[in-house]
């Protein structure tokens, strides 16, 4: 194996990882927002405060979310993956934009309240 090729490989991978780490600083910045937005099929289903405990079924999606002790999580989903249930709950100090996504049921819980129906429609269009 040529040493020069391996050096090129690691320079390339280091460049990719540095770019992604810089991007992650922007995305994973902690925020003190108290709200989560629930999206269902690309439209805003509702906005909930992390301070109020609730358990709610999201429309006819088969997904049930729970906000308890300042943490939002998915407690029930009829999809086979279960990735949303296994995801880390969203809490007050989670990064702005932190999310739990159930792709098969098209449900997402997103930290923050900046997602507006207009933005959501733009995504859908």
């Amino acid at each position: 194996m040529k040493k020069r090729l391996l050096i090129n490989d690691f320079m390339l991978i280091a460049a990719i990882i540095i770019c992604l780490i810089l991007l992650s600083f922007a995305i994973y910045m902690p925020s003190e927002s108290d709200e989560v937005t629930v999206m269902y099929g690309n439209t805003v289903y509702g906005k909930y405060s992390l301070s109020n405990d609730i358990t709610e079924a999201i429309g006819d999606s088969g997904v049930v979310i729970e906000i308890k002790s300042g943490k939002a999580s998915v407690i029930k989903s009829d999809c086979s993956d279960g990735i949303c249930k296994a995801g880390k709950p969203i809490e007050k100090n989670s990064g702005n934009g932190a999310s739990l996504v159930c792709l098969p049921n098209k449900v997402a819980i997103i930290k923050g309240s900046s997602v507006t129906p207009k933005e959501a429609d733009a995504v859908a269009g």
Partner: protein
């Protein structure tokens, strides 16, 4: 000429089966317990797609890639994973096509495999973005960093196994 084409079809069928078996076995590994990022896989199946490209050419490699995705879907029945996998496979194939022109001149398989893995992850996120919107962008940096690192692992495997595999499947 005809014999050569038949040999290529037979070898691509073998690569497809190897890749599908690796894909199914990888799906059983609880990798997300160690790396808590949704959809994370080692990507060992991609070794066979890169080798298919190397010894059979681009058309056979894309055929192997799509056929193995379809085979894994038939065994697992997970439609969403199938759609994400197709999207990732197409993105990753575009990058593979260009990276293979640089393979052994500028980069070894480690560089090729890492870039392809990153494009595979980006392709999956792109489809998820179309389905559900910007909620999935939160996973983008973490998923792509893990993809780059798993690409190093599969690339290293390709570097050490290239001679043996390609000498056995010379067409």
């Amino acid at each position: 000429m005809q014999v050569n084409k038949l040999s290529k079809i037979s070898v691509s069928a073998l690569f497809t089966v190897f890749a599908a078996i690796c894909g199914i076995l990888e799906g059983m590994l609880p990798l997300q317990l160690i790396i808590p990022v949704p959809g994370v896989k080692l990507g060992i199946a991609n070794i066979f797609i890169v080798f298919a490209f190397k010894c059979l050419g681009a058309p056979f490699a894309i055929a192997v890639s799509l056929a193995r995705t379809l085979l894994v879907f038939l065994f697992t029945g997970n439609a969403m994973a199938f759609a994400l996998s197709i999207s990732g496979a197409l993105f990753s194939f575009v990058s593979l096509y260009f990276m293979m022109k640089l393979q052994n001149k500028v980069f070894s398989y480690i560089g090729v495999s890492s870039v392809c893995a990153v494009f595979h992850g980006a392709g999956q996120i792109a489809l998820a973005y179309i389905i559900i919107g910007n909620a999935v962008l939160y996973y983008l940096p973490a998923l792509l960093i893990v993809c780059a690192l798993t690409g190093v692992f599969t690339g290293a495997l390709m570097n050490v196994s290239e001679k043996k595999v390609l000498s056995n499947f010379k067409v």
